[in-house]
């Protein structure tokens, strides 16, 4: 609905408001602290709960994952692909565990759904690649940047 405002005559030229606004701008420009940082040299400290690159946690060299498929089930982006298998020391383990990180939306639901504390999101946020990469189990098992 269009509302006609009843402005006072002086307000019609807006000049006072423009000067007020410029004053704020100038104050920020001249006296406020910088918000940006010099990225590659300077780094920000993120929270421990930051959701970055995934990794699979291992205990005594054995991956925690039992290929229960709860993470691909809960994943809204359908970026996790697991194939289960059997080996002598473990009844069920993931033969394949692939994450298509380009599809991932870093919602962290996989971490939340995991009953074995196996899939985790680290604090690593530098994931640029020169080509589309699907991260394999071997890559994900290397525990870099884990919490």
């Amino acid at each position: 609905m269009l509302v006609k405002r009843d402005l006072k005559p002086l307000a019609h030229i807006y000049l006072i408001e423009i000067i007020k606004g410029l004053a704020i701008t100038m104050k920020n420009m001249l006296f406020a602290r910088n918000v940006t940082i010099q990225y590659p040299e300077e780094r920000r400290n993120y929270s421990e709960r930051f959701r970055g690159m995934h990794y699979i946690k291992a205990t005594n060299g054995v991956e925690n994952c039992t290929a229960c498929m709860l993470c691909p089930t809960v994943c809204p982006a359908e970026c996790i692909h697991i194939e289960a298998g059997e080996r002598p020391d473990k009844e069920k383990y993931p033969v394949k565990f692939e994450i298509d990180v380009l599809r991932c939306c870093f919602c962290g639901m996989c971490e939340e759904a995991c009953p074995k504390d196996a899939i985790k999101l680290s604090t690593i946020y530098e994931m640029s690649q020169s080509k589309r990469t699907v991260f394999s189990k071997d890559y994900l098992l290397e525990q870099r940047g884990h919490k």
Binding site: T66, A67, C68, M69, L70, T73, A84, G85, E86, E91, K92, P115, K116
Partner: protein
Amino acid sequence: MPKCTIDGREVEFSAGENLLEVARKVGVEVPYFCYHPGLTVVAQCRMCAVEIEKFPKLQTACSTPAGDGMIVHTRSEKAKANQKSIMEFLLINHPLDCPVCDKSGECDLQDNSYRYGDSYTRSTEERRTYIDLDMGPVIKKNMNRCIHCTRCIRFGAEVAGVREMVAIQRGNSTEISTIDGRPLETDYAGNYADICPTGSLTLKDFRFKKRAWMLKKTATVCEGCSRGCNMEIQQDGGSVYRCIPRKNMEINQYWMCDEGRFNYQYLMDPTRIVKPRIEGVNTTWSDAIGRLKATLSGKKATILVGTDLTVEELKLIQEMSASMLPGSTIAHIGTNGVSTTSDDGAEDQLLKRKSKTSNLHGAEKLGIAPYKSMASGSEAVLIFRGGKAELPALTGIKKYGVGVFTESEAQGFEVVLPSTSFAEKDGTIVNFQGKEQRLKRAINPMGQSKQIGEIFMLWKNSSSALRAEATGVA
């Protein structure tokens, strides 16, 4: 009809019905483990105990016949307390390895634990463990997960007709196993995995392939023999993972044989031909159809139809071949030694039939004669086949195949046009009782396979045919 009241809802029942079934009629769910409608009642899990007014103690709903004027409470304080303690009791020794277990997602113990059990455990003691012996090629046993419902023991003795599962030891150390640890003998072993309420007995074939909740289910009919057991195809992403029986009291009750259960495997056979072929070399549809027409039209052919095709397909072949290959004869092939419905008898006392194709009775209804020998004057053989019909030995004659063939079966064929199997098409099949049942399409045709109707359409309407028709009109 007598009436009783269950949770305040009045329900009519016929004499002899147990409370569990009567409660289900009005939508009251009574939890249970050991009860199975197809087996005798033993009332040993105690999960279904309900409170009945004027009865001093809780009564198991599965073993109590409903009585006139009975007032039953299934969710009273007493009944709830019982359900809670039974759940706790059953979970004392259950390993709770649901992430590893194939049953999770369709597990009675899991479902009932969520609905009726506590979300925490009070037990801190070590859980008992067993060493599992091998149970043959079908079933994988995990005794740690067992809750001693004895459904498997009763199934073997009452349905499969083999007393092979027994409970040894007593009390806490009860172990369900085969006699002397022998492998299972019955041809119905897959049902052990279906009726097991926990993950103690699971299918080896399905082991770790997929989780139960990821599978898409299609209700269809088995094509393993002329019984036509009702079953469900469970697939994901176009590949079938398993088949499980559906209830149909007139045909297969609750069961299914292993032959039918694992029959789906030929669909994904790596040697199955899924591209049109000319003399063993993959080619395009138009080339293959062109070759078929160039070498077959105008000739007298013997058309062999597998009795594994649906009634619709058989009718289509009858009608189309009359106009497109005039003078040819149609005969059906199926199982060697079972050429007519009178040959088709029971193979065992439960479900299996001698005819190993599903639609022998339908083919006979359509008036197709069984194949005995090549019709005189035939210059070629055209075989339509759904994937199960046994091929007769044919030598010294040009062979054309339409349907599901493996590479070795199609050796020496002039042209092979891949068509669809029972899981890839809709249609009707007639079982040995004369019951017409619908096949439902569960997956898309593999590779470049086409339905038989589509193939006839290509055959009839390919460019040269159109040209010939055009000149005929002009």
